[in-house]
């Protein structure tokens, strides 16, 4: 597979992933906070094509669950009745992008039976739906924080690289300070002065802002390096000779040359910030219940009985691996691609 194919494939897959998360309301069969107190810690549903009598069904189906007679906390499959999977079913109302109200879901089974692709948690909430909704918080945090950090980095890198002199000196020394900061502890410290129970979105925005503010230094140094060499290119000098302003030169000729570095850094920073959000929420310092995030989905694993008895509670963590893999692969491919362009 050539470089171009790798790059295209990773970007397409990333786009699909983000689309899935963006349309979480449609893909997820249930809302993120709908509880089933009689179905706590239900195991993931298995999708069958062949029923107990050996009959093959064209439409996939699931079996219902009934409480185990011997073990009140366990479940056993109830093979007496099949529940066929249906598509584009009406269900719990949700909003697309927080605006358009809708009730159609991609799939589901007819009520009162239910389908839990990734099992349920301690409140009987569908883990699959919560994983999709949780991605909205985690990925948005990653995207916003990375965008914030890169915006600062572009401004700083452009100023320092273009004007040199004392501006360069001050900005780059400050950058060295920021690179060295123990940023996870600083994030904790900022979280510590906030009240523990403030509105979810406030915590979210604040954490994103802090993460963005702390992370600009490394990309800024890289961008500065590109600006330094880019502003000596002949066509830039020519444009300057024709009387182009500093602002025009930076925006039209110099910064576009840094686009490779910027994109690569974006692909590297997003998973890093997603991971930071996951860590904070895992510790209970991020968004609060019932809003899910990829980190808070894992926090119940801190209890030993959940950890050792319910393997499907691990699924959200396992699903993070391909997500990060995609981002790192994209970053690698981008780096290779822009390196070959420059040579």
């Amino acid at each position: 597979m050539t470089l171009r194919h790798t790059l295209r494939l990773t970007i397409i897959l990333l786009a699909v992933l983000h689309a899935l998360i963006f349309f979480a309301g449609f893909i997820a069969p249930y809302g993120f906070s709908s509880q089933n107190r009689d179905l706590t810690f239900a195991p993931p549903a298995q999708i069958h094509f062949v029923d107990a009598h050996g009959k093959i069904h064209g439409r996939p189906f699931v079996y219902g669950l009934k409480t185990d007679a011997l073990d009140p906390t366990g479940y056993e499959i109830d093979p007496s009745q099949i529940h066929p999977l249906e598509f584009f079913v009406a269900g719990a109302p949700y909003k697309i992008a927080g605006l358009l109200p809708a009730t159609r879901h991609l799939f589901g089974v007819r009520a009162p039976s239910q389908i839990f692709l990734m099992g349920t948690d301690a409140y009987g909430r569908d883990q699959f739906s919560r994983f999709l909704y949780g991605g909205q918080i985690s990925l948005l945090a990653g995207l916003l924080a990375a965008a914030g950090a890169l915006t600062i980095a572009i401004a700083v890198g452009a100023l320092a690289g273009y004007y040199r002199g004392w501006i360069d000196e001050i900005l780059m020394r400050t950058g060295e300070l920021f690179v060295a900061l123990p940023w996870l502890y600083l994030l904790f410290a900022v979280r510590a002065v906030l009240p523990l129970h403030i509105a979810g979105w406030q915590v979210f925005l604040l954490l994103v802002a802090v993460m963005g503010l702390l992370g600009w230094a490394r990309p800024a140094r890289l961008i500065r390096g590109v600006v330094l060499s880019a502003k000596e290119r002949n066509f830039v000098l020519a444009a300057r000779g024709f009387g182009a302003s500093d602002f025009y030169l930076l925006g039209r000729h110099i910064l576009p040359q840094a686009s490779g570095v910027i994109l690569t850094q974006l692909a590297l920073l997003i998973p890093q910030y997603v991971l930071a959000e996951v860590t904070l929420s895992f510790l209970g310092l991020g968004v609060s219940e019932p809003t899910p995030s990829w980190g808070s989905l894992l926090s119940s694993l801190q209890q030993y009985y959940v950890l050792s008895s319910y393997w499907w509670m691990f699924l959200p963590a396992v699903l993070l691996v391909p997500v990060f893999l995609l981002y790192y692969a994209a970053a690698n491919a981008l780096q290779e691609r822009f390196r070959s362009v420059q040579l």
Partner: protein, 320 residues
């Protein structure tokens, strides 16, 4: 000398910046202790003002900062209300535990990373190199959280390892040796996990540094002279490649207090990171700020140490 003095000034500036930030954080927390006195109708507002003046709370911000800084320099980091003790000793014990954990892990990670990195650089684009590349990429994409949770699951399920903590039972009578083995037994899992988490980045850096050197003409010349392979690798190439690696080692030492946060919490190792999270929930602000300060001091010290090592190892910097 110019190099060293510049690094020193930089270190001091960094510490000042972080101390200022920490103090600002303390000030940002809403209200102060005496605000509640104002609600008491029997205490006049003049009295409250007088008490505030007594504690220096009426002074302007820079003056209070100077006072706080002087206290911190003398080791007075404040008082932990949650555990009812001075912050200094409380943090001391936890920091020792953290250093024990992450020090072991760092040593383990470096001991593994150096041979793996050198080997895969020497066998570049061969099966060994590809395998190492695949393994490090896989490790890199596994979030630390998942790694430690999986290790904890291993401990809970198999019972081969203790499921957290640092010692089995509080037994003051036990001999030094039994305490030592007990702690070592508890250390295995978290240290191993943390080393695994550190490993991929280290291996990649070692490999990249070695490859750069191995491509240099002098290595080809040495090979042409018939100097043995291993001697070229370790005696000729490694010292030249050590420059970025020493910086990386400094970084490893510098981040020693903060890399183990997740490991400590998931595997309940009584370290600084665990204390940090406990303190946030207990709203024990002085502890939080003291931990930030302590880890920054470690950071600065680690980077300075790396600079000194670099000075000793690289003649080019000495003659600069």
């Amino acid at each position: 000398m110019k190099y060293l003095s510049r690094r020193l000034i930089h270190a001091i500036l960094l510490l000042l910046a972080i101390s200022f930030f920490s103090f600002a954080l303390l000030q940002m927390a809403p209200g102060d202790y005496f605000d509640s006195l104002r609600l008491n109708p029997q205490i006049s507002s003049q009295t409250v003002d007088k008490i505030r003046a007594q504690y220096g709370l009426d002074r302007p911000f820079p003056v209070r900062y100077a006072f706080w800084l002087r206290g911190a320099l003398q080791g007075d980091l404040g008082y932990s209300l949650a555990s009812n003790s001075a912050v200094g000793p409380l943090i001391g014990v936890r920091a020792r535990n953290t250093v024990l954990l992450s020090g072991t892990a760092t040593a383990l990670a470096w001991l593994l990373a150096l041979p793996i990195g050198i080997w895969s650089a020497a066998k570049r684009r061969r099966t060994v190199d590809r395998a190492a590349e695949l393994a490090t990429s896989a490790l890199l994409t596994v979030p630390d959280l998942l790694l430690f949770l999986a290790l904890l699951l291993l401990a809970v399920r198999t019972g081969w390892f203790p499921t957290g903590g640092m010692t089995s039972a509080a037994d003051d009578e036990s001999s030094f040796w039994s305490t030592f083995t007990d702690i070592a037994f508890h250390l295995v899992l978290p240290a191993f996990g943390l080393a695994l988490a550190m490993l991929p980045m280290l291996v990649r850096h070692v490999r990249a540094a070695m490859i750069e050197v191995l491509e240099a003409p002098f290595v080809r010349a040495a090979r042409g002279h018939g100097i043995p392979r291993l001697r070229i690798l370790f005696r000729y190439a490694l010292p030249v490649a050590s420059n970025p690696l020493i910086q990386l080692l400094g970084f490893s030492l510098a981040t020693m207090l903060s890399t183990s946060v997740i490991a400590e919490i998931v595997l309940s190792w009584p370290g600084l990171g665990a204390l940090m999270v406990e303190s946030i929930f207990a709203r024990d602000l002085y502890v939080v700020v003291a931990i930030v300060m302590l880890s920054s001091i470690f950071l600065v010290a680690g980077n300075l140490l790396a600079d000194l090592l670099l000075l000793a190892a690289d003649p080019r910097i000495r003659t600069e």
